[in-house]
C-alpha cells in the first residue's frame, strides 16, 4: 500500500457472525434448473458413445482429427468435412489424484482424473476423464489406457457411458 495512505477500509467478519446472527443478513436458494441441447457435433459424439464408439471430426485444410468433435475448425474457420472414428485407447498426458469432490468436500478415496490423448486423433487431442482399476501410486505419464464402457443397456448417450479408463495390461508392468 502507498506509504502516503494511513488507513485501509474494510471490516472483516467471521463465519460465526453469520451463523449466529450477529450481523443482519438475508439468504436465498435458487430453484432454477438447466437442460442443454448437446448440439450438432457433440450430439453426434454422444450418440456414438451410446454405441460404444468415439467419433472425431476432421478438417481437410489443416489435416487435424479433432476430439471432442466440432462442426467448424477453429483454426481454419471453415466447416469440418468428415467424421472419423478414433480408438477407445490412448495415452495419459497428465493426471491428478483428487481428494476434492465438485463441492470442495473432502473424499477418503480419491478420484483419479486424467487428460487422455486418444489414439487415432491428432497429437495432443485429449479428453478429460477418470481412471480406474489402477493403484494411484502406479499411474504414470505416457501410460497406455483403454476405455471401460458401461454395459450396452445402461448407456444413455453421455460422457459417463465410459465409466473410466484403465491401464492396458502391458502398461502396468
Amino acid at each position: 500500500m502507498s506509504e502516503k495512505i494511513k488507513h485501509y477500509q474494510g471490516e472483516a467478519l467471521k463465519s460465526a457472525d453469520f451463523k449466529e446472527g450477529r450481523v443482519p443478513t438475508e439468504k436465498w436458494r435458487p430453484k432454477v434448473k438447466f437442460a442443454w441441447s448437446a448440439g450438432i457435433a457433440i450430439g453426434k459424439f454422444l450418440e456414438e458413445l451410446k454405441k460404444g464408439k468415439i467419433i472425431a471430426s476432421a478438417c481437410s485444410k489443416c489435416g487435424r482429427i479433432m476430439v471432442p468433435p466440432r462442426i467448424y475448425c477453429e483454426n481454419c474457420f471453415k466447416p469440418t468435412d468428415g467424421w472419423k472414428y478414433v480408438k477407445d485407447t490412448g495415452t495419459i498426458n497428465t493426471y491428478s489424484i483428487s481428494y476434492l469432490a465438485a463441492d470442495a468436500s473432502r473424499l477418503k478415496e480419491p478420484i483419479l482424473v486424467a487428460i487422455i490423448d486418444l489414439d487415432g486423433a491428432s497429437e495432443g487431442m485429449g479428453i478429460i476423464h477418470k481412471l480406474g482399476e489402477v493403484d494411484k501410486e502406479k499411474i504414470k505419464f505416457g501410460m497406455k489406457v483403454k476405455a471401460v464402457w458401461k454395459p450396452k443397456e445402461e448407456r444413455v448417450g453421455s460422457i459417463t457411458d465410459i465409466k473410466y479408463f484403465k491401464p492396458l495390461k502391458e502398461a502396468i508392468l
Binding site: S2, Y8, L13, A38, Y99, A114, G124, I128, K130, I159
Partner: protein, 388 residues
C-alpha cells in the same frame, strides 16, 4: 503510439482483503474508488468515464453485477462498461480504461475492480463448477482445483520440476505479504510446511493455493495533458496486451501458456521492450497457485522455459534480487478476490514505480514494471507495462 494518446495512472486505492467482509460489493467499490480519487487529488466530477471489472456472477447470485455495482463505482450517469475475462479481469480492467483515454474519447477514467466471494456458501468453489462444459465435463464431477493440478503436473513432468522447487514461491509470497497492510494471509512459512500441508488434488496441496477473498481496488487514469496539470509523478501505461487461447483446453499442451506469451509480446512491442528480463525492473505475474508464478514468468519471457524454479531457488525473484517478482505478496499472500486481486497487482506496480511501497519497496529506483493476470479455462492472458 501513432494515433493514440499517452495514458497515465495518477491514483490508486485498495481495501483490506479478507475471507469475509461486512461491506457489500458496492460498499467495497466505493471505498476503493474514493481512496484512489483522494490519492489523485481528484473528485468524481473529474471522471469522464468508468470501467468496472468483476468476475463470475455466480459468487454473488446477482446476474447483472455491472449494473448492481455501478453506483458504488461512481458510474452514476456516466459512460460505463463492465468487463469480464475470468481471472484475467483484474489486469484487463485497466486495459479497458486505457483505451477509453488512449482513443481520445475521454480525458479521464475511473477503473474499479471488485469481488465478493463469501456470499456463496458452503464454499465458492462449487460456483466454479459452472465454468465447465455442461455436456462433456460437468457430468464427470469437475472441481476447479483439478484443472490446476493437471496443468501443474504437466509442467512439472515436462521440465522435471520438483514440488520443493515450486513451494519456494509460496514461502516467498506469503512472506512478502507480511509487509502488506491489506493482506489476508501473510505468514512466515517454510518449504516443509507447504510439502506437509493437506493434499487437495495431487500435486496441489493446501499451501500451494491462494485463498478465497472479498475486496476491491481502484485506479485513476488520465490523459497526458491532465496528468501534467495535476501531478509531477505520473506512471505511464506504455504497453498493453491481451490474448485468448482455444476453449478446448484438453487439446493443448498445458506445460506452457502460449496465450500469455502472445499478450506479453503485444505489450512489449508497444512499449519498445526488446529484452524483457533486462528491461523489466519489477513484475507482478498472476499467482493464484505457486506454480503459476513460475509458469507465467516463462510465458512473459522473463526467463527461459523451465528456468523459473532455478531463478526462484537462487533468490533472483526476492525483493532484493535482480528481478523482484510479486513484491506485494501476490494472491498467495495478499489474497484472491479475483478481479480485485489482479488490480492489486497493478496498484503494486504503481506504488513501486513511485517509490511509495513502504516496507515492500524494492531497491534500485525501478523505472519499468509489469503486471499480468490469467483466467478462463487456462486460456486468457492480460498484460500491462508501466513506466515512470
Amino acid at each position: 503510439m501513432f494515433g493514440k494518446k499517452r495514458v497515465a495512472v495518477v491514483g490508486a486505492g485498495l481495501t483490506l482483503f479478507r475471507r469475509r467482509m461486512k461491506e457489500t460489493g458496492k460498499e467495497l467499490s466505493w471505498e476503493a474508488s474514493k481512496m484512489a480519487l483522494d490519492a489523485a487529488g481528484m473528485e468524481l466530477g473529474d471522471m469522464q468515464s468508468v470501467v468496472m471489472g468483476t468476475a463470475p456472477d455466480a459468487f454473488d447470485g446477482v446476474h447483472m453485477k455491472g449494473e448492481y455495482l455501478a453506483d458504488g463505482a461512481g458510474a452514476y450517469r456516466k459512460p460505463y462498461t463492465r468487463v469480464f475475462v475470468g481471472g484475467g479481469t483484474g489486469v484487463f480492467t485497466p486495459l479497458a480504461g486505457w483505451w477509453h483515454v488512449a482513443s481520445g474519447q475521454f480525458d479521464s477514467c475511473l477503473v474499479v475492480a471488485e469481488e465478493k466471494m463469501s456470499s456463496c456458501y458452503p464454499h465458492p468453489q462449487f460456483a466454479f463448477t459452472t465454468i465447465f462444459d455442461p455436456i462433456l465435463e460437468r457430468p464427470i464431477g469437475m472441481n476447479l482445483i483439478w484443472i490446476f493440478a493437471l496443468e501443474m503436473h504437466r509442467y512439472m513432468h515436462k521440465h522435471g520440476i520438483k514440488k520443493e522447487d515450486i513451494a519456494r514461491v509460496s514461502v516467498k509470497n506469503k512472506g512478502n505479504a507480511l509487509d502488506h497492510p491489506c493482506a489476508q494471509l501473510g505468514a512466515k512459512i517454510t518449504v516443509e510446511d507447504v510439502l506437509n500441508s493437506e493434499i487437495m488434488a495431487w500435486p496441489v496441496q493446501r499451501l500451494d493455493v491462494s485463498p478465497t477473498s472479498d475486496g476491491a481496488g481502484a485506479l485513476v487514469l488520465v490523459s497526458e495533458d491532465v496528468a501534467k496539470e495535476i501531478t509531477d509523478d505520473p506512471v505511464w501505461i506504455d504497453g498493453v496486451g491481451w490474448c485468448i487461447d482455444g476453449t478446448y483446453w484438453t487439446n493443448r499442451d498445458l506445460y506452457y501458456p502460449d496465450y500469455v506469451e502472445c499478450a506479453a509480446r503485444m505489450a512489449y512491442k508497444m512499449a519498445g521492450i526488446k529484452n524483457p528480463p533486462k528491461e523489466i525492473d519489477v513484475a507482478e505475474p498472476y499467482d493464484p497457485f505457486d506454480y503459476k508464478e513460475l509458469h507465467h514468468m516463462e510465458g512473459l519471457l522473463l526467463c527461459k522455459k523451465g528456468e523459473a524454479p532455478k531463478l526462484t531457488a537462487e533468490g533472483v525473484t526476492q525483493r532484493d534480487g535482480d528481478l523482484p517478482i510479486n513484491p506485494s505478496g501476490g494472491l498467495l499472500g495478499v489474497g484472491n478476490p479475483i478481479a480485485a486481486a489482479g488490480l492489486m497487482k497493478v496498484c503494486e506496480i504503481f506504488w513501486q514505480l513511485r517509490g511509495e511501497a513502504g516496507k515492500r519497496q524494492i531497491p534500485g529506483d525501478p523505472r519499468t514494471g509489469l503486471a499480468q493476470a490469467w483466467g478462463d479455462l487456462m486460456q486468457y492472458g492480460s498484460v500491462i507495462v508501466m513506466r515512470r
